[in-house]
Amino acid sequence: MNIRSQISMVFHLDKCIGCHTCSIACKNIWTDRKGAEYMWWNNVETKPGTGYPGKWEDQDIYKGGWEKKGDSIQLKGAGKFKGLKNMFHNPNMPVLEDYYEPWAYQYEHLFEAEEGDDQPVARPVSLITGENITPKSGPNWDDDLSGSTDYARNDVNFKDLSPAEQEAMFQLERMTMHYLPRICNHCLNPACVAACPSGAIYKRGEDGVVLINQKKCRAWRMCVTACPYKKSYYNWNTGKSEKCLLCYPRLENGQIPACMHSCVGRIRYLGVLLYDADKIKEFASCEESELVEKQKSIYLDPNDSEVIKAAKENGIADSTIEAAQKSPVYKFIIEWGLALPLHPEFRTLPNLFYVPPLLPTMAFVENGTYETTSDSLWGAIENSRLPMKYLANLFSAGNEKTIEVVLKKLMAVRLHRRDETVGDLPEKEISDPMGEVKMDKETANEIFRLTSLPLFDERFVIPAAHREEAMEMLESTADVKGNHGFGFKEPPKRGL
């Protein structure tokens, strides 16, 4: 057993209101720079939709992630042979058009325009060339199903849905959508790290944050291809790739990442998970149907005395172990089994888990009329507005059973709370669904509390990074005593 600690996350999709506050918080801090304008380390997509960059989930196009080969796995579009062969021109790299051309409006013109007959206007100009452009796409162009024939209809997760099933999703009365906020998953088996020829990308041992060393990156751009989530971006100005760094300078100070801190829907949870690093390869190579269960089993019980002992032997700080015991994400993922990884079939063992959206049917069309009265409070889970297959393609590598159980648990919690607060449901209508997913009332109440009424400190449990030592993490402080600081001191200018 080789225990490491990992900062992991849970996003509760039922709570996301699609406000993009997270994206803006991130943009303001990290990517409001030349060459990075088009990057959204945090982006929010509407599902069904094609996302950002367009159709990122389609690995036939982008060749991201790992694929199973025999008993083992290999990178789909990069790696020692494929990567080095394709260095001069990378055939699977997304280009600007796959994201969008960033632009800004010339607001100064409103003030500085010569007096004339016409009202001055603020024209959009490209942030790359400075020329006038007409924006034709953006990172959230498909927001709230807008342009749905171009976007929602082309959702990659429809691939094994029958035309009739797809059609049903677009009936006006049944139409539904949910948001999918995405950041880098800080994977246990990161494809970006494996694909980097320079060895510039690495996973931090202490907290599992995946970072790109800007001094070592040489713009071979293999990580952009290899990350199946397209969360490694190429900065066209500096000639370096960049990615979400989980606000590690904030984390080290005990603050939480900006996207999570600012989250209006309070959908985000962050905490420590302990895992067994010896199992990564084995579990990442297992059968597709087992991926979710195997990944869950890599995370260890932080209250188990054996685990604690092994963790201490591995040098994991007591404060980290303590944080792992209080971790809200451990509850959601392991204890309650409510959160699932996004596209586990990419085999990177992502550390961002999602509580899938519960979208019950509230009404149906009968004899041409819209019928909103039904004999049960909510329709059966199997008749959810999103087909089970669709959600399964997103969160469980196509395994419908897995997603069904989660949704039934979520439903059981709601029924139980309805019973506690209103009490208008017959006993059997509550005990049956609860019994089916083996949930007792205490657990249901706990889930309810952490979902709806959590305090800030319950949503985010960050171990002390031992800031006093964290300086030494970065540099031998004595060496630079009396100097102008330490760390990255070069101006981030494009080279010759």
Binding site: H89, I128, T129, G199, K215, I280, G315, F488
Partner: protein
């Protein structure tokens, strides 16, 4: 005098600059060492430019290297006419490939406003030097059909003499103009490596071939600290 300047002064200046310059730049401006890929801004034409250019150049580079390191083997190979022709024709083919690639690259660069935005002055120098280099190379290949034997018999001793600090320019001084230009631009190319994007081939990631795929770095590895017997426990970070 001119010959001495071009074939003794320039080579030594170039070698000195490249030796000191690349190390200095690597150590002090590591951030600025990059292939400065522009594929993100334009990918299609890059395919038709970058691939032929680099593969052509790579084979030519190794061709020159072999002729420099093993001149006798090259001469021996060339002693049979048909083999000489094979060598010459394939060298010419790679030369044309590289030339075509460079042509596409330059055209791509000047026609696309996005690419002009990310080009700098030294890129113009790079394109110029490469054009002269490849053009004269092709000129030599076409007009002097025994180029490979020549290189092995006359140029190799000259380059060797440079490296052994006993410069002997008698052979090179009597070469045709095309060869002279080719040699001068070659040393210019070497000399400008530290101040151009040429830096990128010096950082070719060989280590990728034998490193393990995953990379985990502890800023401050507690395990190592604990077991360290050294006075100064702890491992200096490799991240900065």
């Amino acid at each position: 005098m001119t010959n001495q300047f071009l074939f003794i002064g320039l080579p030594y200046a170039a070698l000195f600059v490249v030796l000191i310059g690349t190390i200095f730049r690597y150590l002090n401006f590591g951030f600025k060492v990059s292939s400065l890929s522009s594929q993100f801004l334009e990918s299609k034409e890059l395919f038709y430019g970058s691939r032929p250019f680099h593969w052509g150049l790579l084979f030519l580079f190794f061709g020159h290297l072999i002729a420099f390191l093993f001149p006798r083997s090259v001469m021996l190979w060339n002693s049979v006419p048909i083999r000489l022709i094979i060598l010459e024709v394939s060298a010419l083919a790679f030369g044309i490939t590289a030339c075509y690639g460079l042509f596409v690259l330059i055209l791509r660069r000047v026609r696309n406003p996005r690419l002009i935005k990310v080009a700098n002055k030294m890129d113009i120098v790079v394109y110029l030097v490469l054009t002269v280099q490849i053009a004269t190379g092709l000129w030599v290949a076409v007009s002097f059909r025994w180029g490979s034997s020549w290189f092995a018999s006359s140029l190799t001793p000259y380059i060797r003499s440079i490296f052994t600090f006993t410069p002997d320019i008698s052979a090179i001084s009597s070469m045709p103009l095309a060869v002279k230009i080719h040699v001068v631009s070659a040393f210019t190319l070497i000399g400008i490596i530290p101040s151009t994007r040429f830096m990128h081939f010096l950082v070719y990631p060989f280590a990728y071939l034998w490193r393990s795929y995953q990379l985990v770095i502890w800023n401050w590895d507690p395990k190592k600290i604990r077991t360290s017997r050294k006075l100064f426990n702890g491992v200096r970070s490799r991240n900065n």
